[in-house]
Amino acid sequence: MLKIEGLTAEVEGKQILKGIDLEVPVGEVHAIMGPNGSGKSTLSYVLSGREGYEITGGSVTFAGQDLLALEPEERAASGLFLAFQYPVELPGVGNALFLRTALNAVRKARGEPELDAMQFLKVARERLKALQIGEDMLKRGVNVGFSGGEKKRNEVLQMALLQPKLAILDETDSGLDIDALKIVSDGVNALRGPGFSALVITHYQRLLDYIVPDRVHVLMGGRIVQSGGPELAKQLEAEGYASVQAAA
């Protein structure tokens, strides 16, 4: 599904990613763990196409396409979804309009018919119910005045509506209490299946108790320094990143 080879990238002249090699097969959930400053967020932004990152080498293939050649909206339309670490507030943009516009843009790009307001509301209500989110969230401005937990739930709601092939969850657990963490994780787990892959980026092992990964990779100093099964996360929790650093 996703294949990253020798990816290097700079921010303002400073090299952050120093040669990432990573493959996420169809249907698998992989976790990337690493300490602060290891390049986790840079990787997620480079994959989603945010400006300000200069790709200096390597390649990324997503669902058979050269991902790095696509605009952010084209990446979304081809099935990539980034759940933001800090979801952006959009004052004056209603959440319902935002969600419907996004869903229809993606449907249109996929050659599916667009949904009118009533059809959209029906779909949105089903998703809201499944995620235990109140309907009033549709009426509010996008993320405006949302608590940290509400913002993350709104990200998962967007993911549930857009049904991506690959979701990148960037520190989705940060700022979440245990109840919110459970709801978010349930949302991700509900999508798991043969057509869905995910890259879960996190600092802590806690999230991986709820979203159990097929593989865990340790990112340090802009490189993947170790890969293993879910037990690697437990080891990191017990021994800290220093142990990996020593081993690497």
Binding site: S48, G49, R50, E51, E71, P72, E73, R75, A76, A77, L82, F84, P87, V88, L90, P91, G92, V93, L97, F98, T101, A102, A105, V106, A109, Q158, L162
Partner: protein, 428 residues
Amino acid sequence: MSAHPTGAAGFLHRYEGLRMRLPGARLPFVAALRDQAAEAFRTQGFPTRRVEAWKYTDLRPVADAGFDEALTAVDSAPDLPPAHGTARAVFVDGRFRPDLSALDGLPYAVESLAMALPGLDGRLGALARVEAQPMAALNTMLFEDGLVVTVPAGAAGGVLDLVSIGTASERPEAFHPRHLIRLGAGASLTIIETATGPEGARYLHNPVYEVEVAAGATLTHARLQQEAPRAFQLATAYARVAEGGTYDNFTLNAGGRLVRNEIHTVLAGPNAACHMNGAQLLRDGQHADTTTVLDHAAPDCASRQTYKTVLMGRSRGVFQGKIHVHQVAQRTDGYQMNQALLLSPEAEIDSKPQLEIYADDVKCSHGATVGEIDAEQLFYLRARGIPEPRARAMLVEAFLKEAVEGVQDEAARAALDAAITGWWEKAA
């Protein structure tokens, strides 16, 4: 064709020639008002940028154009903009057109100013200040028509469309309609005004409004300025609001080449309120100026002003807003915000808020911001699959929303929303 005198001299020359033929020439009070205005206009001329109130708006393109008086066939049938209500008053090149209007069976009086003049002694010119505003002087000197709306106490007037169409294409024409609007105690009315003209039309539309809102009355005055691309509009509104009354003005500046929306509001009785909101949507080559002067002249009044300007290409926007809180106006609650969104590095916005406060127990705030489209917000929308042009449109609409939401009347708000959406669809 003979050369036309331009500038103030051209208009004064016209006045000399037309003086005895203008409506109301035989009414001493009208003749006196006109002569007085001519004298004021002769003294001031077209304001230059050395005049503080016109520092950011250069009227030379207006002064340098030679204007003819409007000579429109009385049976011309221009395309009319969409109606927002059932009542409609239509003006073509400044002249009232009963054949295009629909004013039967209304719970208030609507007349053509030219016809109503004999009964307007004391009302015409009661608020306009020709010695201070030269464009109001020009209007008073040369007005030929206008709308006189008189809503009796307690009447609910509903929605009245006021339509102005400028048609001159071969030679530029000037028209100076004078509109008098009076609401009796507890009355209400919504006026949705559309000023427009066909592509290619060249004209100066120089309206003056004198608005009287009696105790407890509410006037919603929504102005959609969608003039022809080469036209000028220089509008001056004067409003006086009595105890517990509300004047709700929204002006959308979207058309024209050089436009000014100048509003003078006096909150004259306790608990009076006014909203002066607006949006300026400017494309390459356009200049739009909104200038508000608000007098808090009584205690316990509230005022809200939110103006938003969106600028594209080499356009220029101006906002000047003065709030004068008189000594007697204790417990004034005033708020003024003006914000600009620059969509082009060549666009320019000038902003001059001004507070003069002479009362000591006052809550007054003002603010101004200038910014571009937020890169984080744009990326967030695009990362959800929304193509960049649509994402930009959503952010511009969101920027404007706060100003439109300040409009209480639903019909007016819907008209403004539609006009803004229409503008963006054309612009993008």
